[in-house]
């Protein structure tokens, strides 16, 4: 039965349908034409928008080179006008084109709709005899299709996870400054010098030319004490600083740990116990309480931090605290406990491991590859135990490692470990470390004299290369410090002496009258002296004594100060202190 034909004549309907169809075609073509025009305009115009046209830019550069060239000016004006007109023409076309397109589409749809309607033949569908079976099949297929779609979704998600690199480049502790990705390249020298990467600063002389900490502080009056953070385990090592983090180690008979504090707020960013070190002795070494197991100061190359303990455990950790490698060097035989700090040079970790009471016994100097912990070279040393820390200096065209032990000051080539020169100038228990002062290596022979040597010799230079020596107020524990021009040193009883670095003449002395165990340091033109009882003085690094300021903290201090930026970091027995201007 054909119901539709009841309403309209067949032939008439066909004719109308055809008319509408033609209309639809025309409208459709019209729409296409408009689309094409708009697309063409976009394609030609977008690259030459007045603000990004390379041609215009080139002309303007040319004009800057030849400011008087009227021809270039004319060209710029023409081109500028042309592009601007084209740009605004395009905008206008887009607007009107939109409306025209809308109209065209309306006509197109209406015509198609009419064509379809007048052509409509309504007929009752024939009953589908297969319908029942098909329904079941469709259901089964739908289930399959849904399952297939689920698989597609899982695949897409997996691809998304894989492409999106599910590691988040965010630090775990947002308060801590993020750690630069461990790259094989070491940080530049400037960064090394801007930080405080080892015992007594970049070159081991306790001198920072650019740091600018405050002149005065007082814990009681809460002035210039930025923060104070308790240190979990004791240790006599000094803080080192790298990239907004302060590193320390601490330990007792049971545990040895490394701590990292955020320089910004003093929060303990992480602490890592050094344990399960291969070959580590089960028994804690016998050490004096005044030395402890964590006397050696740590070192860093900006990629990892290194820590050495009195039981011979040597560990490398990432800046985020992740263990890199660790090994045991054998417990050094030392009647007080091992105290020599680590040195670092171009990614190599330098360990001076002197031991034995009076007889030399297995003392050695070792260089490790910082990244892997492999021994690069190792040199035996015929010296007994010492407590001075090595420094690495550039002198006589070589990188030299200067070590001090009874009875010699010995220099080694940092690259190969070959011995360069030695000077038998030391006596007593060698604790003060050597420094470089105005091109001379300066070393205090405990309580006897301060000697400066020219570091350009070879072989035994005891008789040939001593530049000067001075015997006044010589310290027994602390090391001297120098800004290259002057040398300062302080005795345990609190006598500060200033010498001219050139010839060793004494310029002045000043008695603080209190016990001082921490080596002094120089920041800019100021000498910082920290006494054991928490008093501190800031003295001008000048040829005359002039006190610039003073500080007071409620703690006991043995560690050397660290200067970074506008701050001073001090390790007390109980806590780490950050001095700076708020």
């Amino acid at each position: 039965m054909n119901l539709a034909l009841i309403n309209s004549g067949e032939a008439g309907a066909r004719r109308t349908a055809k008319t509408w169809l033609i209309t639809a075609w025309i409208a459709g073509l019209f729409c296409l034409a408009i689309c094409a025009t708009i697309l063409y305009q976009h394609a030609t115009a977008t690259t030459n928008d007045p603000w990004k046209s390379p041609q215009l830019l080139k002309l303007k550069t040319a004009l800057a080179a030849a400011p008087k060239d009227a021809q270039i000016k004319a060209q710029i004006r023409d081109l500028d006008l042309k592009y601007r007109q084209r740009f605004f023409r395009r905008l206008a076309l887009d607007r009107t084109g939109g409306w025209l397109l809308l109209g065209g589409m309306a006509v197109f749809l209406a015509a198609l709709w009419r064509a379809k309607n007048s052509d409509q033949v309504l007929s009752i569908p024939q009953p589908n005899l297969q319908a029942a079976r098909e329904a079941l099949r469709v259901e089964a297929r739908s289930r399959l299709a849904v399952a297939g779609f689920a698989v597609v979704c899982v695949g897409a998600a997996a691809a998304f996870i894989k492409a999106g690199d599910s590691k988040m480049p965010l630090p775990q502790n947002p308060a801590a400054p993020p750690v630069p990705a461990a790259a094989d390249a070491l940080p530049p020298l400037a960064e090394f010098q801007a930080n405080w990467p080892r015992f007594r600063g970049p070159d081991g002389s306790g001198f920072s030319p650019k740091a600018n900490p405050p002149l005065a502080w007082d814990e009681g009056a809460k002035t210039n004490l930025l923060w104070k953070s308790a240190i979990p385990l004791p240790g006599f090592n000094s803080p080192i600083v790298w990239g907004g983090r302060v590193f320390l180690s601490g330990g007792d008979a049971q545990k040895r740990e490394v701590y990292c504090f955020n320089a910004a707020d003093g929060q303990l960013a992480w602490r890592r116990a050094i344990e399960n070190v291969p070959g580590s002795p089960a028994k804690a070494p016998e050490v004096l309480e005044q030395t402890g197991v964590a006397a050696p100061t740590m070192a860093t190359d900006g990629r990892r931090v290194y820590a050495l303990f009195a039981n011979g455990d040597l560990a490398a950790l990432g800046l985020d605290g992740a263990p890199a490698w660790s090994k045991n060097l054998g417990t050094p035989k030392n009647q007080y406990g091992h105290a020599t700090s680590l040195a670092i040079w171009q990614g190599k970790l330098i360990v001076q491991l002197d031991q034995g009471d009076s007889e030399p016994a297995n003392s050695r100097l070792m260089a490790f590859d910082g990244a892997t912990g492999k021994v690069v070279w190792e040199k035996p040393r015929k010296v007994p135990g010492s407590w001075a820390s090595p420094i690495v200096v550039e002198a006589a065209g070589k990188a030299q490692i200067i070590t001090a032990a009874l009875p010699s000051l010995i220099a080694y080539d940092a690259v190969s470990g070959a011995e360069l020169w030695k000077a038998d100038v030391l006596e007593g228990e060698v604790a003060p470390s050597p420094i470089l002062a105005g091109g001379l290596v300066c070393i205090a022979s405990p309580s006897s004299k301060l000697i400066a040597l020219r570091p350009d010799g070879s072989g035994d230079v005891t008789k040939t290369h001593v530049a000067w020596s001075n015997e006044e107020n010589i310290p027994d524990v602390t090391s001297p410090t120098s800004n290259g021009e002057l040398v300062f040193y302080v005795t345990s009883s609190g006598m500060l002496t200033c010498l001219d670095a050139k010839d060793g003449t004494k310029l002045w002395e000043h008695d603080f009258g209190t016990e001082i165990q921490a080596s002094p340091g120089i920041s800019g033109n100021r000498v910082y002296i920290v006494a054991t009882d928490g008093h501190a003085w800031v003295v001008e690094a000048g040829r005359e004594f002039k006190e610039l300021g003073a500080g007071k903290l409620e703690d006991h201090f043995f560690a050397s100060p660290a200067f970074v930026g506008d701050r001073l970091y001090l390790r007390g027995n109980a806590a780490l202190y950050c001095i700076g201007v708020k």
């Binding site: 009752i124 009953p127 029942a132 996870i161 993020p178």
Partner: protein, 431 residues
């Protein structure tokens, strides 16, 4: 109310106080009597006009209900569609719409900084409430996106039922993703990837215009592709119609089972009477149902696990997280566009902390999203095993857009309207 009044008073006080305190560095003292112009500030559409939109929305919804249930007029529905397209589409430029409002509601629920405009809440709730009682009248003729697709539908082709089922799941997934992104403050995905809005504005990115053209071209042959296979609000409405009290009924009288309505529906929404379907052995279907019921929690669990894996890569779409990541990378490798990093570099702490917080939110959000995806699939499997008894042809309320096309093809309706003589019908029934 009282609080608001207080705020107003306080604001006024503050304003006058600053006016007194303010003293600007004086501009040059012009000798020629030049007067300083003031910059123009063309006003936005007045706030009250938003409520006009609400009134239009509610009236259009009521009118659509009336047209579907009382007059049963396809012509009326088409006319209302044209009006909605003109008003909500070309006049209001497609913003704000019910589809996008889902995200505003999600954001308002999760972010205490965001104030949800009342009008947006009404745009979200009104069509949903209507759907709870009377089906998708909103889709029929009020939604401009639906209207434009309905109007371009010229030659409907049938999408095979097995294909329609999985494609019909996409809206649920899109809804989940859209809510997850909005709730974490990472942006409005649904608005960003609405392919039809660029038409209303005569403007848009190349990608979105291209997508829109593709959808409209497909819409010439496939009924409402966006509504059926993408629209997340449609997914919500589909859920709401499960509870609908009134449903669209094709025939005003008894169904003659002529199947004309099934053929007339371009959206595959018409369900045939179950009497025509073959039954499987009861045992098979029960076993299958039991399997899928057991599978449901497994799917939800798996989905949740998978979702949690998505959290980190997905969180990188958040601006703050992206910025924090760029900042961290810039510490080792220089950034190509450092201008954006300036505000982190000045003070990285809060940004990094915020990024971490958002990442945690994403962990929760993505896990929930994954569970939701598992649930959608599991429920779909179960529903494919269930069979309801139908004696007549009737539209599936979830997929029916109440477009009124089927009414006019029903012989009984045509008789009711007097388009064909009743005698013919009685003659046929005697046959």
């Amino acid at each position: 109310m009282f609080r608001r009044l207080l705020h107003l008073l306080f604001g006024l006080l503050l304003l006058s106080a600053t006016a007194l305190a303010e003293q600007r560095f004086p501009p040059p003292d012009f000798e020629s009597g030049y007067q300083l112009p003031t910059p123009t500030t063309p006003a936005p559409r007045a706030g009250l006009m938003q409520y006009a939109d609400v009134v239009v929305l509610l009236s259009a919804l009521a009118l659509a209900l009336w047209l579907v249930y009382r007059t049963r007029s396809r012509r009326g529905i088409t006319a209302l569609s044209l009006f909605s397209l003109a008003y909500f589409g070309f006049y209001r430029k497609g913003c704000v719409c019910a589809i996008g409002s889902v995200q505003n509601v999600a954001l308002a629920l999760c972010d205490s900084h965001y104030a949800l405009p009342v009008t947006v809440l009404i745009f979200f709730l009104a069509p949903l409430t209507v759907a709870l009682f009377a089906g998708r009248a909103f889709c029929a003729a009020v939604c401009p996106q639906g209207a434009i697709q309905d109007l371009v539908l010229i030659k409907p082709l049938k999408v095979p039922a097995w294909l329609e089922t999985p494609l019909g799941l996409i809206p649920y997934l899109f809804l989940g993703a859209g809510v997850c992104f909005a709730a974490t403050g990472s942006g409005f995905l649904i608005c960003r990837y609405d392919p039809l809005v660029p038409f209303f504005r005569f403007n848009g990115s190349e990608l979105m215009i291209g997508l829109g053209v593709a959808f409209l071209l497909a819409g010439l042959f496939v009924g409402r592709p966006y509504c059926r296979f993408l629209c997340p609000y449609g997914a919500l409405l589909r859920l709401a119609t499960l509870a609908a009290k009134w449903r669209v009924r094709v025939t005003p009288d008894t169904c003659t089972q002529c199947a004309l309505c099934q053929h007339s529906c371009p959206f595959g929404a018409m369900r045939e009477p179950t009497g025509m379907q073959k039954r499987e052995p009861l045992k098979t279907s029960r076993l299958r149902l039991a399997t899928f019921l057991l599978l449901l929690p497994v799917l939800v669990g798996l989905g949740a696990w998978g979702g949690s894996q998505l959290a980190t890569p997905a969180s990188k779409f958040n601006r703050t997280v992206k910025l924090a990541g760029r900042y961290v990378r810039s510490l080792t490798t220089p950034d190509r566009f450092p201008m954006e990093l300036q505000r982190v570099e000045a003070n990285p702490g809060p940004v990094l902390a915020k990024a971490e917080e958002i990442r945690q939110q994403f962990l929760l959000g993505a896990t929930l999203f994954g569970g939701w995806v598992g649930l959608v699939f599991g429920v779909k499997f179960i529903s494919l095993c269930l069979r309801r008894n139908r004696t007549d042809f009737e539209p599936d309320p979830g997929t029916c857009f109440a477009c009124a096309r089927c009414f006019e093809t029903c012989p009984s309706e045509r008789i009711r309207r007097g388009w064909i003589p009743a005698e013919l019908e009685t003659a046929r029934s005697k046959e």
